[in-house]
């Protein structure tokens, strides 16, 4: 315990000295996020400084082993680091699918060579990864995917199409599910491969969403050659890797259910000019906000508890479905309430006053929360089957 308190004191002092003041301001929107990658342009000098300083300590991946560039922290130490970062409202120094999803999967399923090759550039934010999972005919029924990878001796030849590939147009590499045995039952003919998005035959096309933004792409593979050393895990056992990685994706999405700034009610009621002595419409909004604040605070406890259960290896893996489901529902509720509180101000789509419609665009973005990473309905199916053992689920 004394060691942890020392660690806390040192961490606090280091963060105080090294986190630039601009990096302690709330992110205005997605544009303030640092994703890294070959095509990355720094939004500010402060962002560059902050990310580089954290990278130098391996604290962009605090719990990964130091041999792969990570921070080598214990779970307790990593929790302290997160708490101390939240205390000064520090922004995340680096976000990426490499950190959240591919990294954990490689640590479990990757060869030593693959770990050494791929993990350090993820920690340093040098390579930005995208996820090739969904296809036009394989959404909730992901295992029915059809993108083929034929064995050509020293390489696979990949042909097919992915869809909803987040940031495919900005990514450097892709982790991708491909069918390597078309004759096997659908879960048993899938493999998990990595390849360079600059490979000949890869093309992307952004999809314009209801938010007006295009975070997702269609991604096409036309005779793409993938060296065999870039297969992760065993051939035709890619579904295991895929599921494990989805667990991490769900954890990541469930965290959106928790608001950094605390009470939504406090924010929204200021926006709506709400007061306890307001008229009856205010009372109804206030009641909705209060119930939301209760649910959000309770959900934060569930996230903490699941993390603590994982530490002692007592967390059922399917709990990530509970958190993903609930976090998505909460985040959608949050933005519905913000829109209600914002009234007509929140409806403006362009211009300086609305920061180009950030409220409306964020609201629309959240509608994907209950679709991406497995829909609400898929999560409920998983809970029914794996946690409740209901027949036929």
């Amino acid at each position: 315990m004394a060691d942890l308190e020392t660690f806390r004191a040192e961490t606090r002092a280091w963060l105080e000295a090294n986190c630039p003041p601009e990096m302690r301001l709330p992110m205005r929107d997605e544009e303030d996020r640092c994703w890294g990658g070959k095509k990355w342009t720094w939004a500010s000098e402060a962002q560059k400084q902050w990310t580089e300083r954290m990278v130098a300590r391996g604290w962009t991946a605090p719990e990964w082993p130091t041999e792969y560039g990570g921070g080598g922290l214990s779970r307790e130490e990593a929790k302290i680091l997160r708490t101390e970062m939240r205390r000064i409202k520090a922004r995340s120094p680096l976000d990426s699918f490499g950190l959240w999803m591919l990294g954990p999967a490689l640590l479990k399923y990757g060869s030593e060579e693959q770990k050494k090759q791929y993990l350090p550039p993820i920690v340093r934010g040098e390579i930005r990864w995208c996820q090739g999972y969904s296809e036009p005919g394989a959404g909730s029924d992901l295992a029915s995917l059809q993108t083929r990878a034929e064995d050509k001796g020293d390489h696979f030849l990949v042909n097919g199409q992915k869809v909803w590939t987040s940031y495919a147009d900005k990514a450097d590499w892709i982790f991708c599910l491909v069918r390597t045995d078309p004759k096997a039952p659908k879960h048993e003919g899938i493999s998990f491969v990595l390849f360079d998005m600059a490979s000949p035959g890869v093309s992307t096309k952004p999809i314009v969403l209801i938010s007006g933004k295009s975070p997702f792409c269609e991604t096409f593979f036309d005779d793409v050659q993938v060296p065999k050393g870039q297969l992760v895990g065993e051939l035709n056992k890619g579904w295991d890797v895929a599921k494990y990685l989805l667990g991490h994706e769900r954890e990541m999405i469930s965290n959106i259910g928790v608001m950094d700034g605390g009470s939504l009610g406090a924010v929204a009621s200021r926006q709506a000019g709400l007061s306890r002595d307001g008229d009856s419409a205010d009372y109804l909004l206030r009641a909705d906000l209060a119930r939301f604040d209760v649910d959000a605070a309770a959900f934060a406890c569930a996230l903490e508890r699941t993390g603590d259960l994982a530490k002692i290896r007592a967390a059922h893996p399917a709990l990530s479905s509970v958190l993903k489901y609930y976090g998505a529902v909460l985040n959608k509720r949050r933005h519905e309430l913000l829109m209600t509180a914002g009234g007509s101000d929140a409806l403006e789509w362009e211009g300086e006053r609305s920061k180009d419609g950030v409220a409306a665009k964020s609201w629309l973005r959240t509608k994907a929360n209950s679709i991406e990473g497995g829909t609400d309905e898929v999560q409920l199916n998983i809970i029914a089957k794996r946690l409740l053992s209901l027949p036929g689920a």
Binding site: R291, I383, L387, L390
Partner: protein, 379 residues
């Protein structure tokens, strides 16, 4: 502190679970109800609670108790919830013991705490006056009279009120109803002149009473804590009670859910078990998610009471609000998924719905606590 039970707490849970399922299962509540038991509690069971150490859990060791914390009390409450056990554990061992331990002078503690720990007395807190919990609205009047006070007014929803040996009464010594200042707690003998107790048989077959005070004289030694500034003590005591009820109601909801899952895996219609229908599966999965969240926030509230008592009010309100809401969902889904048999008295599931309704109301319902959260967050 990790948000999980320690090994010792898990052992306590297991032993409470074993003890209660053997000595105080749902069938025991039915016996009390159906025999129209005059006391509504089993004295044998209460002696058993004393033997198990439950009665003295929150009593400091110096007064013959175990000096354990709210997490431990909550662990037992959750098991009480699973078994719908009727006992004075909440009124006496949790609420009254906390009030005396936190607010009592040496003589008061010496007089009452060892006997609470020993299971020899039943004690209770009388706070509500109207149909909805709101301690600030305390109006029962305590006027100075000679060396002491004279009490006039009414209390309702007093747990175990008709079998209590001691009532801790929230009274107004100054100010007006609605103000937190001016409230004082008194230790009152329920057999004192001017005290009229009416047992109110409740929907859940657990004990409650209305008490009327007409010119009830108490000495100044009867004051628990300080005159006029009892609200802080009262709120602290209530927060322990609220977290404990949140634990109980979570046990009620979890057990109702468990029984319902077992039922839908076995009940057949249309040639298959009804648990195969996605219409039920998704509702069950949603309910499970809610129950997981309720368990987490309740444990957090109990831990916070033990670790940082004075800062616990917000998380206690969140826990009581959430646990009440989730248990309400759980018991309603339970009755609905049981279908026709869920409506029969013979099946236990309706008893869970009844207890959840009472526990939801006890020490403030979900609306009361959500409103407190809004106020604490400044809106």
């Amino acid at each position: 502190m990790p948000l999980v039970l320690t090994d010792e707490q898990a052992m306590l849970r297991d032993s409470a679970r074993g003890y209660l399922s053997e000595h105080a299962p749902v069938a025991a509540l039915r016996r009390l109800r159906d025999s129209r038991d005059a006391e509504g509690v089993s004295r044998d069971l209460w002696r058993g609670f004393a033997d198990m150490g439950f009665t003295g859990m929150l009593v400091p060791e110096a007064y013959g108790g175990l000096g354990l914390g709210c997490v431990e009390a909550g662990v037992v409450m959750e098991e009480i919830g699973r078994n719908l056990t009727a006992s004075p554990f909440l009124s006496t061992a949790i609420v009254a013991a906390t009030a005396l331990a936190r607010g009592g002078g040496d003589a008061q503690k010496e007089e009452w705490l060892p006997r609470i720990a020993g299971g020899q007395v039943i004690a209770t807190l009388a706070v509500d006056e109207g149909a909805k919990h709101d301690p600030r609205k305390t109006a029962l009047k305590a006027e100075r009279s000679g060396n002491g006070f004279r009490l006039n007014g009414r209390k309702a929803f007093v747990l175990d009120g008709h079998v209590a040996d001691l009532a801790i009464v929230a009274a107004r010594t100054a100010g007006v109803a609605g103000e937190p200042d001016g409230i004082t707690l008194f230790l009152v003998d329920p057999k004192a002149k001017g005290v009229a107790i009416e047992r109110t048989v409740m929907v859940d077959a657990h004990n409650a009473a209305r008490i009327e005070f007409v010119d009830v004289e108490v000495t100044s030694d009867a004051v628990l804590g300080e005159v006029d500034t009892g609200y802080r003590l009262l709120e602290g005591v209530l927060n322990v009670g609220r977290a404990a009820v949140a634990a109980e109601i979570t046990g009620v909801g979890d057990e109702a859910m468990g029984r319902t899952l077992a039922y839908i895996k076995e009940r057949q219609q249309f040639g298959r078990v009804i648990g195969e229908f996605q219409a039920l599966q998704h509702r069950a999965a949603h309910l499970f998610s809610e129950v997981e969240i309720a368990k987490a926030v309740v444990l957090k509230a109990l831990q916070t009471l033990d670790g940082n008592f004075d800062a616990a009010a917000p998380i206690v309100s969140i826990a009581k609000a959430k646990a009440g809401q989730v248990a309400t969902l759980a018991v309603q889904e339970a009755v609905q998924m049981h279908g026709g048999v869920g409506m029969t008295d013979e099946f236990d599931i309706g008893l869970f719905m009844k207890r959840a309704r009472v526990a939801q109301e006890l020490f403030g319902d979900s609306n009361f606590h959500a409103d407190r959260i809004a106020r604490l967050n400044g809106y």
